[in-house]
């Protein structure tokens, strides 16, 4: 479902009574029913304060979710998600809201405010919603299954039912049925609108999974949760305690399967994860939490590398100094001493309930810790530290994190370059020539960033030499002068020449090319 990031839609009347609710993202378990109560509380708050606004569309940051509110003539539509909606999606929602008011509002029942969200639904309108906001993609590994006897389904074409058996995944269904993926998506969207289908196996192998506080109930033999599970799925009871130790939010699904692969069948483990995910006691890390995990992994690696490269106690001294300068409880609270050494605690529970904005700031705090820690290390050993960190990136970090996770992380190696540059030359003007920040071409962006930031770090003269050696012009050129193979060749050469500025520079190039999914020049490959 890549076209939009809406998890659910709620339509209320002007009195705040829910008139329609629909979950659009199968992974958004949070909306039904656990988050419903806080959601209603928020709606209640909106009706008193926020709906007074004259703006037709506005966004409210509410805990871990963003609510985009569209004001209609007789109702409000609230789209729930974690990202802001673009104008195209907002226009679709507006059209749906108008249609709802004109055609469907009178057909809805006025339910009590305490009613479950699942009761506030109108199938024909749900189908219209899924026509406009259908699944644009479903991961190959997801396994759709029917929540009703498929022979009783009358509202869909019926072409797909024979192929959905609760164990075939999306890819297998496509292979067996011979249907085009788009047709499958439209049909499944229709089934979703009629609420006759759900999914298993929704975790990707590369998802990092962590447990929430409420997971502990599943580790108590006498809890109601464990009792319920014993009755429904007795085979899961033994798996969960074994899984518990792997759910610290630092391991991917793939790593868990490897760890437990000898004891349990892969499908059994995935079923348990699905079960726990549906009950919202575990979570797949959101993009922002993955970035925090990355920064924490790099700090943990820094601590271990510093222990090896530097004299005894230096890493501890540097970290305690850095901690003394920070007042952020969410970061300080996750640094622990074990066996006289500092370690990063990877537990996720501290982040529960924090909104995206706070998570972004916490990523920044971890980056600050990383930067200050490196700044306090013995300068004569810094290069050795950087070499070892580069090895750790290529061996561990790059294999475990996606290019998307690395967004913004180039700041760390650029800072290491700054630390290693010893003397900073005062810079009055930056030379750019015809280089431009375009915001869309990957290699252009990298070269522009390195040429400009490089001048700040190494001075204009040194960067001019790097550009001259690679054929990157630092003068104004006619637009058709530096193009095609000549441009590509000189940009590639530039990356090599820039890497020669030092080990930190090499790490910067590695991270920036990785971020953008570019292939490194052969002579530079780690």
């Amino acid at each position: 479902m890549t076209g939009h990031s809406i998890e659910a839609i709620l339509i209320t009347d002007m009195n705040g009574n829910p008139r329609f609710y629909m979950q659009l993202d199968p992974r958004a378990f949070g909306m039904d029913p656990v988050l419903a109560s806080s959601f209603f509380a928020a709606i209640d708050m909106f009706s008193k304060e926020v709906f007074q606004q004259s703006a037709p569309v506005f966004t409210v940051d509410y805990g871990a979710h963003l609510f985009t509110v569209l004001n209609g003539e007789a109702t409000h539509m609230i789209a729930v998600g974690v990202q802001r909606l673009n104008t195209e999606i907002t226009a679709i929602l507006n059209a749906l809201l108008t249609e709802f008011e004109e055609k469907w509002l009178l057909a809805t029942e006025l339910l009590d405010i305490d009613a479950s969200f699942s009761d506030v639904y109108l199938e024909p309108f749900g189908e219209r919603v899924m026509e406009k906001l259908s699944f644009e993609d479903l991961p190959d590994s997801w396994v759709p299954y029917f929540t009703v006897d498929p022979s009783t389904i009358v509202d869909t074409s019926g072409t797909m039912e024979p192929f959905i058996n609760g164990s075939r995944n999306v890819k297998e269904i496509l292979d067996v049925s011979g249907f085009a993926k788009r047709d499958l998506l439209l049909e499944i969207s229709r089934m979703w609108a009629h609420r006759v289908i759900r999914f298993r196996n929704m975790l990707s192998f590369d998802d990092y999974v962590g447990s929430k506080t409420s997971f502990l109930k599943y580790l108590q033999a006498t809890s109601r949760e464990t009792e319920d599970m014993k009755k429904q799925y007795p085979e899961m009871v033994g798996v969960i305690p074994r899984l518990a130790g792997l759910l610290e939010g630092r391991r991917t699904v793939r790593e868990m399967l490897v760890e437990l692969g000898e004891s349990y069948d892969e499908r059994e483990i995935l079923r348990v994860l699905d079960y726990l995910l549906e009950r919202e006691v575990i979570e797949a890390l959101s993009p922002e939490k993955r970035r925090i995990l990355l920064a924490k992994e790099v700090l943990e690696t820094s601590l271990r590398v510093a222990d090896e490269c530097l004299s005894e106690g230096e890493a501890t001294k540097a970290l305690t100094t850095v901690m003394g300068r920070s007042d952020t409880p969410e970061t300080l609270g996750q640094l622990r001493v074990t066996d006289n050494k500092w370690h990063v605690d990877f537990d996720l529970k501290l982040l529960e309930g924090l909104n995206n904005r706070r998570l972004m700031l916490l990523f920044g705090e971890w980056m600050k810790l990383l930067a200050q820690f490196a700044a306090l290390l013995d300068p004569t050993k810094l290069d050795q530290f950087i070499v070892r960190m580069t090895e750790a990136f290529t061996e561990r970090i790059f294999t475990r994190f996606t290019p998307f996770d690395l967004r913004g992380f180039e700041e760390y190696p650029l800072w290491l370059e700054q630390l290693g540059a010893h003397k900073i030359s005062p810079v009055r003007r930056i030379k750019t020539g015809s280089l431009k920040p375009t915001g869309n071409d990957s290699i252009d962006e990298i070269v522009y960033t390195l040429v400009t930031r490089g001048q700040g770090i190494y001075g204009t003269e040194r960067m001019t030499r790097v550009c001259a050696a690679s054929g990157v012009p630092l003068m104004e050129l006619p637009p058709d002068f530096w193009v095609g193979w000549q441009k590509e060749e000189s940009q590639e050469k530039f990356l090599k020449e820039y890497s020669k500025l030092g080990n930190a520079a090499k790490l910067t190039v590695l991270i920036m090319t990785r971020q953008r999914g570019l292939t490194l020049p052969k002579t530079m490959s780690p």
Binding site: A55, M360, G364, A371, P426, R428, I430, T452, R453
Partner: protein, 171 residues
Amino acid sequence: MSPTYLLKICTVGAASVGKTSIIIRYSTGTFREHYSPTLGTGFAYKKMKLGNNFVNAQIWDLGSQDFLERVRANYYIGTQGVIFMFDVTSWESLNAVLDWKNEVDRHVDDYQSVLVANKIDLVDERVISEPEGIELAKKLGMDYIEVSVLLDKNVNEAFELISTRICETFV
């Protein structure tokens, strides 16, 4: 023929007020969704026409962390204009403007300045009103403008304002 002025403008302000984002928005027209602290100095430029003058604005994005002050000191040299930024949802960022002014004053003798209030799209989270922003700007002798980098509202105007003020000093 009209002259082309080369202007050096720095953006300063508390962490996460949107200094890097405003520069990216202004120079590339795109919005950066993610936040990452600038650990050093970013850089962008844009050419524009102001009245009869052509202007090449070089914009320096100075990392705001405390431990970067020594690094920042090297980049203030030659600065003609400073954009002081704060976030309308954060009192701390507004209060920090005074500290930023003191730091710039220590390093730059003569410069033009604009106080930029960002994130006005966060209507319900806003805690600093326009009159409060204007009052501070007046107190510090700066122009004042409210922007939303996310919605691309007044971003070009903010840079045109500071550039105009600098160009006026050339007359």
